[in-house]
């Protein structure tokens, strides 16, 4: 029986094999899988952000649900008059009587609404410069927000951790010394106001060795991560090769190999014609 799970399994196998086929060569299966991935991701993110952020948190705060039986003043009626016009365009986004979730109107949210509109004005060349205001706000806010976090957790706390603990045993002491030497020489390597010669050059060279060890560790972990992902995909391919999924892996693999063979053969022929 054709179920969503079965269709999903076949589609998953097709995309996995399509991506893996790149290891052979850049081919139509890979391109199809790549384009589907990019398109679906973009659509998914836009839809998700709109329905989890813009609609409930922005529109929802500007036009919260009206309480039944309450008498509202002129401002409210005017404000919800605008809302009703928007509602007549799309009642899914702007349902009747306001959006559920927030108790009162928060006019401060007009600022992000305006900045959001400014951002979209990038698409209109004449007034595109207005987008800079929105970008300036984002950059300023992000810098301010991150400044404290980095200063506290990554600078102050990390400096503290490089101090040598003389009260511990000799292993702790040696570890502390290695940490201090590694940190200082690593930092010296990135000091470019002085030529890296003499004692300074030797110290910065020690720094390079520490950095290389660190990059080696990062590379090792990166390989481990990639292999884990490969295991995940292979696990699914093995699962979907079963009878309950109508041997999706085997069928699609055979079909792909056959079509890739034809594609490679015809491609080679065309190439030969072009060079002839």
């Amino acid at each position: 029986m054709l179920t969503t799970e079965l269709i999903g399994a076949w589609f998953s196998v097709f995309l996995t094999l399509g991506i893996i086929s790149y290891l052979y060569d850049d081919n139509p299966f890979y391109k199809a899988a790549e384009h589907i991935f990019v398109g679906v991701s973009a659509g998914y993110w836009v839809s998700l952000f709109f329905w989890t952020q813009v609609q409930p948190n922005l529109f929802g705060r500007l036009w919260p649900r009206l309480t039944e039986g309450t008498e509202y003043g002129f401002f409210h009626r005017l404000w919800y008059g605008i809302y009703n016009i928007l509602g007549s365009i799309n009642s899914g986004i702007f349902p009747e009587n306001g959006i559920e979730g927030h108790p009162e109107i928060r006019m401060i949210y007009l600022i992000p609404l305006i900045l959001g509109i400014f951002m979209l004005l990038r698409l209109v060349p004449k007034v595109g410069w207005l987008a800079r205001w929105a970008i300036a706000y984002i950059v300023g806010m992000a810098a301010g927000l991150r400044f404290y976090g980095f200063l506290n957790s990554d600078v102050m706390e990390q400096i503290k951790s490089t101090t040598i603990n003389f009260s511990g045993d000799w292993i702790v002491l040696i570890n502390g010394i290695i940490m201090v030497v590694g940190t200082l020489t690593g930092l010296l390597y990135f000091f470019f106001s002085k030529e890296h010669t003499g004692v300074f050059g030797k110290l910065s060279k020690i720094g390079i060795y520490f950095l290389m060890i660190s990059f080696g560790a990062s590379f090792g972990f990166a390989v481990m991560g990639r292999i884990s992902l490969l295991i995940g995909r292979f696990d699914d391919l093995i699962k979907y090769s079963g009878r309950e999924y109508h041997n999706a892996t085997f069928w699609l693999l055979a079909l792909m190999i056959l079509l890739l063979f034809v594609w490679a053969f015809t491609g080679k022929k065309e190439q030969d014609k072009a060079t002839a």
Binding site: L23, Y24, Y44, W45, L48, F49, T52, Q53, G101, H102, L145, R146, Y148, G149, F150, N152, S153, D154, E157, Q158, K160, S161, S214, A217, S218, F221, A222, V223, M224, G225, I227, S228, L229, L230, I231, G232, F234, D235, I238
Partner: protein, 280 residues
């Protein structure tokens, strides 16, 4: 000898696709024919276990799901092992997601947990769901959770959920655990919530993130770390419940052996070739 060196040099310039096939087979064969390999927990995994094990009864633990299907093989086994330990000890679990796909991962994990433990939603665990905003969400949880979340993932009003009583910000939790696959993730929890409010936290993250998080672990800002799939397998061993990660460790180990062999071989070829060119 010359012939032997010629062979080595020739093998050094072998088509990379043969290497891909060999690495692929080294992963595939142990998955089809599983092998049991011994797993010994590292100190970092043990530290995570000890930190959670030492929590008092009825502790409130915030678990953040910051991963998606692409990193599921590495992180999901950790989630399962961690939730088994938390529910096994009767702790209250509050789930949140900084990644949109995180909510699917948490739903999947809780669905399995419900088959293993007698859990009641809203009493034993709550899923607050995904909120976009990256570090702003972490900061929101740190300062005022009720402004950020008015409803949970099932659209229940937060004020109607029994276990949310008395929960206003991150300092109302006894422990934070970040299941992280990148940004936003462990780093943001350390910087914006746990360091400023002095809340103990731990993490289970993808291998690629480990070197980024290790300085926090070394300094005690993060209590231990579950590093990639081996970390998950070690944790399964610690809670005495072998799962998917344990079964996949043979494939991981074999693939590593093949890659290491190729790295060594590549280096030998490089030096042999360089020596020959110098002689010329």
């Amino acid at each position: 000898m010359k012939k032997f060196i010629d062979i080595i040099i020739k093998l050094g310039s072998v088509d990379r696709r043969y290497i891909f096939v060999l690495v692929g087979l080294s992963v595939l064969i142990p998955l089809i024919y599983p092998l049991e390999i011994p797993i010994r927990p590292t100190q970092q995994s043990q530290d995570v276990f000890n930190a959670i094990d030492a929590l008092p009864p009825n502790s409130k633990v915030l678990v953040s799901f910051e991963y998606g299907p692409s990193t599921k093989p590495e992180i999901h086994p950790m989630s399962m092992a961690l939730l088994r330990q938390l529910f096994g000890k009767g702790f209250k679990v509050y789930a949140t997601a900084l990644w949109p796909d995180g909510i699917f991962m948490s739903n999947d994990a809780f669905a399995i947990m419900e088959t293993e433990f007698p859990l009641e939603y809203g009493v034993d665990y709550v899923n607050l769901g995904f909120k976009p905003g990256n570090e702003a969400v972490v900061k929101g949880i740190a300062s005022d959770i009720r402004t950020l979340y008015t409803t949970d993932a099932r659209l229940n009003q937060i004020s109607n959920i029994p276990m949310m009583e008395g929960i206003n910000d991150v300092s109302d939790f006894d422990f934070v655990f970040s299941l992280s696959a990148g940004y936003p993730g462990t780093k943001e929890w350390v910087q914006y919530a746990c360091d400023p409010h002095n809340i103990p936290m731990s993490t289970g993250c993808t291998s690629i993130q480990v070197t980024e998080v290790l300085p926090y672990v070394a300094n005690g800002q993060v209590k231990g770390i579950l590093a990639g799939m081996p970390g998950a397998a070690e944790y399964e061993k610690l809670i005495n419940h072998p799962g998917k990660a344990t079964g996949r460790m043979a494939a991981q180990s074999f693939a590593h052996l093949v890659i290491v062999a190729f790295i060594i071989f590549g280096n030998i070829t490089y030096f042999v070739q360089r020596k020959r060119e110098q002689k010329k």
